[in-house]
């Protein structure tokens, strides 16, 4: 086990720079999730840590040792690929034992190590099968087993669940999390699914087009997003981000609505952010016209129009109103986020 650090890491493919100076610290035993939209450079960063891509500038350290020039096999890391990359011509046992076979480990050690990993992952019955005789979830587990037998310093996962159906994904998510709690190995996990990030991570690193937008604990990112990008990215359903300006009676949205401001709001605010779940029903509040009602069972999502401003709200209560009806809503002023009109940074309230 080891800590990992990225120090001003840059990556260019030919003339195109895709990572513009990434700084991230990962503590020993931490579960870190890299999250961001497609093409933002998550996989590239992970592959640089694995040694599969060279580093254009900056330093990557594993256990306080700079590994820029260290070949992949000497970095003591194990990676689970998005397509699993199981060796199709080897049985599950051979797939898992391959690294030990290369290292010329004695047969007894190989068998006991594979048996240990197979027990953790529930693969005991499948050891003699070939990858093509396995389901997607089982392949996923074999890929993890192959990583576990290595006893690496760092686990890397590149979107390991993206090929699974929704139900299996939730199950495997829990299994990976549980595995981490049991083995306590430093883990870097890439995903573009922010729910996966929120539920699994000790620390989330939000990336956008080659930059780190914010890094922190999941609820920290949810409660105090550093900027507009993180605010819009973290949380589902997404935060309402309403452009406008601070006026005398409140926040004057571009669509014409006037929204109440928390006391002491900065006049520099250019965007008003409020999460759907931070509205509550209030007959004396803003009178908004219902556009669409989406009950999900546990809560009801309501899209409303206030003058020409569209907003989404989520209520725990059941809503009887239908499209066209007027309901009264009011935002929880302590949970309103204001963002600078120029930089998009969150203004401390």
């Amino acid at each position: 086990m080891a800590n990992v650090a990225f120090r001003n890491v840059r990556k260019a493919f030919g003339p195109v720079e895709v990572l513009h100076g990434v700084d991230v610290d990962i503590e020993d035993g931490e579960f870190v999730v890299l999250v961001g939209p497609s093409g933002c450079g998550k996989s590239t960063l992970l592959r640089m840590l694995a040694g599969l891509e060279n580093i254009t500038a900056g330093d990557i350290t594993i256990g306080n040792r700079v590994v820029n020039q260290v070949p992949p096999k000497d970095r003591d890391i194990a990676m689970v690929f998005q397509n699993y990359a199981l060796y199709p011509h080897m049985t599950v046992f051979d797939n898992m034992a391959f690294s030990m076979k290369l290292a010329k480990a004695p047969k007894a050690v190989m068998e006991s190590e594979v048996a240990r990993a197979a027990k953790i992952l529930g693969l005991e019955q499948l050891l003699q099968r070939y990858p093509r005789q396995l389901s997607g979830g089982q392949r996923q587990r074999v890929a993890m087993g192959r990583a576990i037998v290595r006893n690496p310093q760092v686990f890397l996962f590149d979107e390991p669940l993206s090929n699974l159906d929704a139900k299996l994904r939730v199950q495997m998510r829990a299994e990976i999390k549980e595995l981490h709690q049991r083995l306590k190995v430093t883990t870097v996990y890439v995903t573009h699914d922010q729910i996966e990030a929120m539920t699994m991570a000790d620390k989330i690193v939000v990336m956008n087009s080659g930059n780190v937008e914010q890094a922190g604990r999941p609820l920290e990112l949810y409660d105090t997003p550093a900027n507009l990008f993180v605010a819009g990215f973290i949380g589902s359903p997404a935060m309402n981000l309403i452009p406008g300006r601070v006026g005398s009676g409140g926040f004057e949205a571009a669509g014409g609505a006037v929204l109440p401001l928390p006391p002491g709001a900065s006049a520099a605010a250019g965007t008003y952010g409020i999460r759907p779940e931070h509205f509550r029903l209030d007959p004396n509040g803003l009178q908004a016209r219902v556009q669409l009602v989406e009950p999900t069972g546990s809560e009801t999502q309501v899209f409303v129009r206030l003058a020409d401003t569209l907003m989404s709200c989520a209520f725990r209560e059941r809503i009887t109103a239908g499209p066209g009806d007027i309901i009264g809503i009011s935002p929880d002023l302590s949970l309103v986020h204001l963002f600078d009109s120029g930089t998009g940074q969150r203004l401390a309230a």
Binding site: A50, G51, L52, P72, K73, I77, A78, M79, F81, N83, A85, Y87, P88, H89, M90, F98, S99, L102, A103, Y130, P131, R132, S135, R146, R150
Partner: protein, 318 residues
């Protein structure tokens, strides 16, 4: 007021003619579609093959219809040292040339599978020996192996000064045999290299990355990933290559005509020699037929020995 009722309009539905009905009748359609292919096969494949096999059991010569002699031709062949010679050289030629072609072809394919400048140009160049008509390349080799004007001798003697005399490539048995094998290897490499390259490109790069992280050396990646995954294609390409090499005719006939002193006769050239210039059609056909067991054996061997692997049997789920 008169009410006119418009006649109810129906889409015209003609009864199909007998021709249409005939072609909609499936057995007939199958028969009609197969006819050209079957006809061509009958005329150009089955008939010559059948005639060849039939001739092998007769004592036909050119100009005289023979009579059925049973296995007499084959009995005669078993006592014929020239036939044994040709069997030996055919097997030797095939074995050595196949090993050479696959060693060099695989090496080339591995090289071309890397990223390198002018890759597509190189691939095109590699195909050249295969595109040139065999007889043309045979003539080129004839010159290369010429006792007086050989470019190899010229290089070794006049340019490098490593030898004092020209090499006599085709004048005696063993040099001639190896010279022909070299020509055959040169000609066979493109087929092997390009086919294996296609096979290499089906291997997912992430397997190599996984193996890299698992701590493999370059040789181990070849030994445990590339080679086993290439085996199925290798088996098919090798089957074809063995068949082509064993039945080779053009190169040998154009360069040595089986000489010197019949030492480089392959079964195919010997069969032709006996049958056409020699006129002994029955005997020539018997020699040709005697190749069949070797070919069947080689095919079965490479097919069952190499082709099917458990990991790829049956339907995959993806």
């Amino acid at each position: 007021m008169s009410v006119t009722t418009a006649p109810a309009w129906r889409p015209a539905r003609q009864e199909p003619g007998w021709l249409v009905r005939l072609f909609e009748y499936k057995p007939f359609l199958v028969f009609a579609c197969l006819l050209p292919a079957v006809g061509l096969l009958m005329v150009f494949l089955t008939y010559p093959l059948g005639l060849g096999i039939f001739l092998a059991f007769t004592d036909t010569t050119i100009g005289r219809r023979g009579i059925w002699v049973g296995l007499e031709n084959f009995q005669y062949l078993l006592e014929d040292p020239l036939w044994w010679n040709a069997v030996f050289y055919s097997v030797f030629y095939t074995a050595v040339a196949t090993v050479g072609k696959f060693a060099l072809g695989l090496w080339l394919a591995l090289l071309l599978n890397n990223h390198m400048p002018f890759k597509s140009l190189l691939r095109a160049i590699i195909l050249l020996p295969w595109i040139v008509p065999t007889v043309l390349s045979a003539i080129a080799f004839w010159w290369i192996y010429d006792p007086q004007f050989s470019i190899i001798s010229f290089l070794l003697v006049d340019v490098l000064g490593w030898r004092t005399t020209n090499i006599d490539f085709l004048g005696s048995a063993w040099p001639a045999r190896f010279s022909l094998i070299a020509a055959n290897i040169w000609r066979g490499i493109p087929f092997v290299a390009i086919s294996l390259l296609a096979g290499l490109q089906t291997i997912s790069p992430s397997l190599y990355e996984a193996a890299l992280l698992d701590g493999s050396s370059a040789w181990q990646r070849f030994r445990y990933i590339t080679f086993p995954m290439l085996l199925p294609i290798l088996a098919i390409v090798m089957t074809f290559s063995i068949i082509f090499t064993f039945t080779d005719f053009q190169l040998v006939y154009a360069i040595t005509r089986g000489g010197p002193v019949n030492s480089t006769h392959l079964l195919a050239t010997l069969a032709f020699q006996r049958g056409i210039p020699g006129g002994q059609l029955g005997e020539g056909a018997a020699i040709a037929v005697s190749m069949i067991p070797f070919l069947v054996f080689a095919t079965l061997f490479s097919y069952f020995g190499l082709a099917r692997r458990k990991w790829q049997q049956g339907e995959g789920n993806d």
